[in-house]
């Protein structure tokens, strides 16, 4: 049954792009497996996009649906913008992983299963009445049934120093080896990684390598696999690339902004999914004068940020929706103190605790209106994982320019997804200019310092730092008089200060890019999106355009203020459709702020949109034919 077949006899089919989903128990190391495959494909030259799918519970019972951890990677010889609608290949390490991922899998897709995990117990934990490998429920799919556990154990029997448990933990690398073989990938990148990662414990590296090689050669020597595939390198612009997730890009953007301001970076945060990784990324960067502060709660985090901003740092807090709710009062204090800072919201599924590990775009109106009183703040939203870098710089630039907190709305999807990134050269990134008023000794005939004397162009007040002689001043959350900032309940003062704060935010429209459009300047339909839906909507529109449909795409990265030409752009399209992962929040803003008629396509599944889904929506809105 194990007749050796030489590799040459296999058919190698050329594919343009493939999406693979690795799924297993949260203890099976599926994120790692997927990441390794991604790195190898990136290094090979494919364009890539990835999306992890964590269980909400860190240690859900093994073998259950709740414990399934998935990682999807889309790799292509073309430019890819999304992690892929429906994977063509599923690697399922147990019945629960199969059950949870099967609905997503493409019809007639390939399933690689670990048959050893299909025990009675695991089947019943996954809610299977009968073994899907033995009944006809997988009919139509191409099933590669491999007893991974026993083959892996056999392969690692020589590793006497390891416990059985430790050997079993290598079986994800066994699976990875099979997939490497199937897609004709080199094992070098992963081998190097293994020996670097487990330098302290080379036996673990050896065992994983052996497992991976065994999986690889299983493909080569057995008939289980009939087919190999090849996905050629993509035509990416020349340059040096790395892979970056949204949270990594955001972290690097924040560090860069601080350096470009010549300031320490203060990052105050309370751990919360899916924003905690920003704290984890920044904490090891002390040599960049990054001062991370793990606060006692969400409120302390934003308040410490206010203190740090007063003290002259680039001050940033990061959280998710529930954290923003707790921070609202303090954000308003920051607004009236008129201090620069960045408030990062990595949005997750809500309301309340909601879906911590899932994605949503439903905090736009919270950022816009979720505070007491008149509280206008600038809002920016990155479009892709690597765009988080750009928008972090933008948020810092706007915050300092207008002396105001700036919201940066990321999403769980962007935070954890990865794409290739052509790292910029630090020297090419412009400085962010920061001005602090000069000090003086009292008694030199200086007029008293006016903490709310506004710059005529930007309307920003001066950022006077404690420690500067002669500029001693007091700020507070009470209503205040213009110029002096002294407490004042005068109704005219109140009105003036409110409109000045609104005006300085509105004036930022003058320094943000104009809105561009992908496609014709006039068309039947304009798809208008924001945030992490960029890749999906752009792909769907591009495909509809290739099919000759009259559709264009505009993607907003600036939500408040809107780009100054947005109103004009929108007038040129007969119909405007806004796809959002909420029930129509951007649409509501557009209607009320620009007085335009827009329609909403709402998706509340707390999962990213799919290209096919948006394609259908486009078609439905243009009429078939």
């Amino acid at each position: 049954m194990t007749d050796r077949v030489s590799a040459e006899t296999y058919e190698v089919e050329e594919l343009e792009s493939v999406a693979i989903r690795f799924a297993g128990d949260s203890g099976d190391g599926m994120q790692l497996t997927g990441t390794q495959f991604t790195n190898t494909s990136a290094v090979f030259g494919n364009d890539i996009s990835t999306m992890p799918d964590f269980p909400a519970e860190i240690r859900a019972p093994a073998g259950t649906l709740a414990g399934v951890s998935g990682f999807q990677v889309h790799f292509s010889s073309r430019n890819v913008l999304t992690p892929g609608d429906a994977p063509q290949v599923l690697v399922a390490m147990n019945p629960a992983a199969l059950k949870a991922s099967l609905p997503e899998l493409e019809r007639a897709g390939t399933i690689i299963v670990n048959t050893d995990a299909f025990t009675k117990q695991n089947l019943s934990k996954a809610g299977y009445g009968s073994n899907p490998l033995e009944d006809d429920s997988l009919e139509g799919y191409q099933v590669l049934a491999v007893p991974m556990t026993s083959l892996n154990r056999e392969a690692l029997a020589g590793f006497k120093e390891l416990t059985n448990k430790e050997r079993d933990r290598c079986q994800n690398f066994f699976a990875l080896g099979m997939v490497f073989w199937m897609f004709d990938r080199s094992m070098d990148t992963t081998r190097d990684w293994l020996f670097k990662k487990f330098a302290r414990k080379p036996i673990i590296a050896e065992a994983n390598l052996k497992a991976m090689e065994t999986g690889y050669f299983l493909g080569e020597t057995t008939e289980t696999f009939q087919q190999r595939y090849n996905v050629r390198p993509a035509a990416l612009p020349p340059g040096t690339y790395r892979k970056v997730t949204g949270n990594e890009a955001l972290s690097m953007g924040l560090v860069t902004a601080a350096q470009k301001m010549g300031k320490p970076l203060f990052y105050g945060s309370y751990p919360i999914t899916p924003a905690s990784d920003i704290l984890h990324s920044l904490a090891p960067l002390r040599h960049f004068d990054v001062r991370t502060f793990q606060a006692e709660d969400e409120i302390a985090a934003i308040c410490a940020v206010i203190g740090a901003a007063f003290g002259g740092a680039l001050a940033v807090t990061g959280t998710s929706g529930p954290g923003i709710a707790l921070k609202s009062e303090a954000i308003n204090l920051a607004l009236t103190l008129e201090l620069p800072m960045i408030v990062v919201n990595v949005q997750r599924g809500g309301p309340s605790t909601g879906l911590p590990t899932k994605t949503e775009q439903a905090d736009l109106l919270q950022a816009m209106f979720g505070r007491n009183g008149e509280s206008p703040l600038p809002i920016v939203a990155p479009a892709t994982p690597s765009d988080c870098f750009e928008m972090a710089l933008e948020a810092a630039r706007l915050a300092v320019r207008a002396m105001t907190p700036v919201f940066l709305l990321s999403e769980g999807f962007l935070a954890n997804s990865a794409e290739p990134w052509q790292a910029p050269r630090a020297e090419d990134i412009p400085e962010i200019s920061v001005k602090h008023p000069q000090g003086h000794r009292n008694g030199n005939g200086h007029s008293p310092f006016l903490p709310y004397e506004r710059d005529p162009e930007t309307l920003a007040r001066p950022w006077a730092l404690p420690g500067t002689p002669g500029l001693e001043h007091r700020l507070g959350g009470l209503s205040k008089a213009p110029l002096t900032g002294n407490v004042s309940y005068d109704p005219e003062h109140n009105e003036q200060m409110i409109s000045e704060r609104a005006e300085k935010v509105a004036r930022l429209a003058g320094v943000i890019p104009e809105q561009d459009v992908f496609g014709a300047a006039e068309a039947e339909l304009l798809m208008l999106s924001w945030g992490g839906t960029f890749g999906v909507v752009r792909s769907a529109v591009a495909s509809a355009q290739r099919a000759g449909r009259s559709v264009a795409h505009a993607h907003l990265r600036y939500l408040n203020p809107f780009p100054r030409n947005l109103g004009d752009v929108l007038k040129r399209y007969r119909k405007i459709l806004v796809p959002e992962l909420n029930s129509g929040q951007l649409a509501l803003l557009l209607r009320s702020k620009l007085g335009v008629e827009v329609e909403t396509y709402a998706n509340l599944s707390a999962r990213p949109l799919k290209i096919a889904e948006v394609r259908d929506v486009i078609n439905a809105n243009l009429g078939r034919g």
Partner: protein, 519 residues
């Protein structure tokens, strides 16, 4: 801006007075605290531009407006958190946090605890008037049980907090208490709080003349206050009273007030501001059962938070050099896309020196940690299963039949040898199948008329899973449990059967092994 210039300037009280009109109720204890603060600050030698007052919400929190220094009147309860961020951004500042019993112990209790616990270099002054003043007279978290207010018309049924005990619970490095009505004592204690590096916690008994005017009467009345206050001095006996005729003695763990006429001076407690238990005892002494302890209760030195954090920045820069952005961007696996002509050579490089890379994020960190963790001591039993091979089980010599044998012959052999499993071999004695009692029951009994006419190959399980003798016992157990096998054939490298292991054999072996271990 040079510090030399700063030192040359001698400041006076007036330098610290702002242009704002003070708006507390006439007679409020806050006036006295403000006056003493403005008197003390010039003496501390800190330039006013380096001095910051941060407050929350409440009557006391108006304080920063009246000080001609930097200041923030923030939101309710959060002053310690703002001050912490400021101290981290600029550790050279002298930061005062002004709070009250409601602001600091109710809505802001959490921040107070954590600022003290972290030992942030702050001077935290808590005005305790045991009432909410600004919101017009509700009971506070320090109000005594039974306090009648607008929100507790039948008397408060709540237990009060003891601010000193709260600070002690947070491992405060400096704890002191004073009272608004005793300006000299107050000034001296403020000065001590200012001197201390780290979090200083100073509770001031403060009189709210409007909503709780009688709270501190016994302690403020000049005529008899010396009988109700114990003034603490490090290294001095705890003696008090107008005639200095009373002292504090420990009876077991309980302090007691004794008359010096009856008790030797040697028995009287000596104050030690470095003793934690003593600080807790002093904090627990509540007036009127005891005299109220005033002065510096605890004063020890520990590293301050911002100093430690900035120290890490310096260490990291010494060890790794000031951060280089290009290195940060490239601290990952890199690949280069060449100008596209022919099939390009791609090379992976990693510029990441150890620790430069951002950590892998997501749940798999735990997965890696677990693989990477130090050698785990196996339980003896696990060890046994993994290290001992199947040979230890003394596998039975296999009884085999040739693949051309009839069913009748096979079943007869099984009966003869009294075994439940028969191995089927080919001409070269290689294993080709297995035939068990289960097969007899399910495939043969009642279904086959003439056993002599049927060959075994049609009824056996072909190509059964096999193991080799030198594999660990655990592996056999695993296969048996996964597949429900009762028998596992063992073969040599040539595929010839060398033995057979039954589930019974394994259980028997385990049982003995367990007995050995428990003996």
């Amino acid at each position: 801006m040079s510090t030399a210039a700063t030192e040359e300037i001698t400041l006076t009280r007036k330098d610290f007075v702002s242009d704002q009109t003070v708006r507390w109720c006439p007679g409020c204890g806050d006036y006295s605290i403000l006056a003493q603060m403005q008197r003390v600050l010039p003496a501390t030698g800190v330039a006013k531009e380096k001095t910051v007052f941060i407050s929350g919400i409440g009557c006391s929190s108006r304080f920063p407006y009246y000080m001609n220094t930097y200041g923030i009147h923030s939101i309710h309860g959060r002053a310690p958190a703002l001050a912490t961020g400021l101290a981290i951004a600029n550790p050279d500042l002298t930061i005062w946090v002004i709070t009250g019993d409601g602001d600091g112990l109710s809505i802001g209790g959490n921040h107070l605890l954590h600022a003290i616990r972290r030992n942030v270099n702050l001077n935290i002054v808590l005005f305790n008037n045991r009432i909410y003043g600004l919101t017009k007279g509700q009971y506070s978290p320090t109000s005594r049980p039974g306090t009648v207010t607008k929100s507790s018309p039948m008397g408060s049924v709540e237990q009060p907090l003891n601010p000193i005990a709260v600070a002690m619970a947070a491992e405060a490095t400096f704890v002191a208490r004073s009272i608004d009505s005793h300006p000299q004592h107050l000034a001296a204690t403020l000065e001590r709080a200012a001197e201390h590096k780290g979090a200083s916690f100073l509770e001031i008994y403060q009189n709210c003349v409007i909503f709780n005017p009688n709270e501190w009467t016994d302690l403020s009345d000049r005529k008899n206050r010396d009988d109700s206050i114990l003034y603490l001095e490090h290294g001095k006996h705890m003696i008090f009273g107008k005639d200095r005729d009373k002292g504090i003695r420990l009876n077991g763990f309980t302090p007691e007030v004794v008359s010096l006429d009856e008790v030797d001076l040697d028995d009287i407690l000596v104050h030690d501001a470095t003793s934690k238990p003593l600080a807790s005892i002093l904090g627990s002494m509540e007036f009127p059962d005891y005299p109220a302890a005033m002065g510096v209760i605890r004063d020890v030195r520990k590293p301050d938070y911002a100093g430690e954090l900035i120290g890490q920045v310096q260490t990291a820069q010494e060890q790794r050099g000031a951060g280089d952005l290009n290195q940060l961007y490239l601290a990952a696996d890199l690949w280069t896309v060449e100008e596209r002509e022919e099939a390009e050579e791609r090379e992976i490089t990693s510029l990441a020196s150890d620790g430069d890379e951002m950590p892998i994020t997501g749940l798999d960190e735990e997965y890696i940690d677990e693989m990477d963790k130090p050698e785990e001591v196996l339980s003896d039993f696990q060890d046994l299963l993994v290290t001992n091979t199947l040979a230890e089980l003394n596998p039975k010599v296999p009884i085999t039949v040739g693949k051309r044998s009839s069913l009748a012959r096979t079943v007869r052999q099984m009966n003869q040898h009294n075994i439940g499993c028969m191995l089927v071999t080919d001409e070269e004695n290689r294993l080709v199948g297995i035939f068990t009692e289960w097969d007899v029951l399910n495939r043969v009994a009642g279904l086959v008329d003439d056993l002599t006419q049927e060959t075994i190959t049609d009824y056996m399980t072909a190509d059964p899973l096999t193991l080799k003798e030198d594999l660990p016992i655990a592996q056999a157990l695993n296969l048996m449990s996964i597949h429900g096998f009762r028998h596992l054939p063992l073969v040599d490298d040539g595929g010839q059967p060398t033995g057979i292991v039954s589930f019974r054999d394994v259980v028997g072996y385990l049982n003995e092994a367990l007995e050995d271990m428990t003996d």
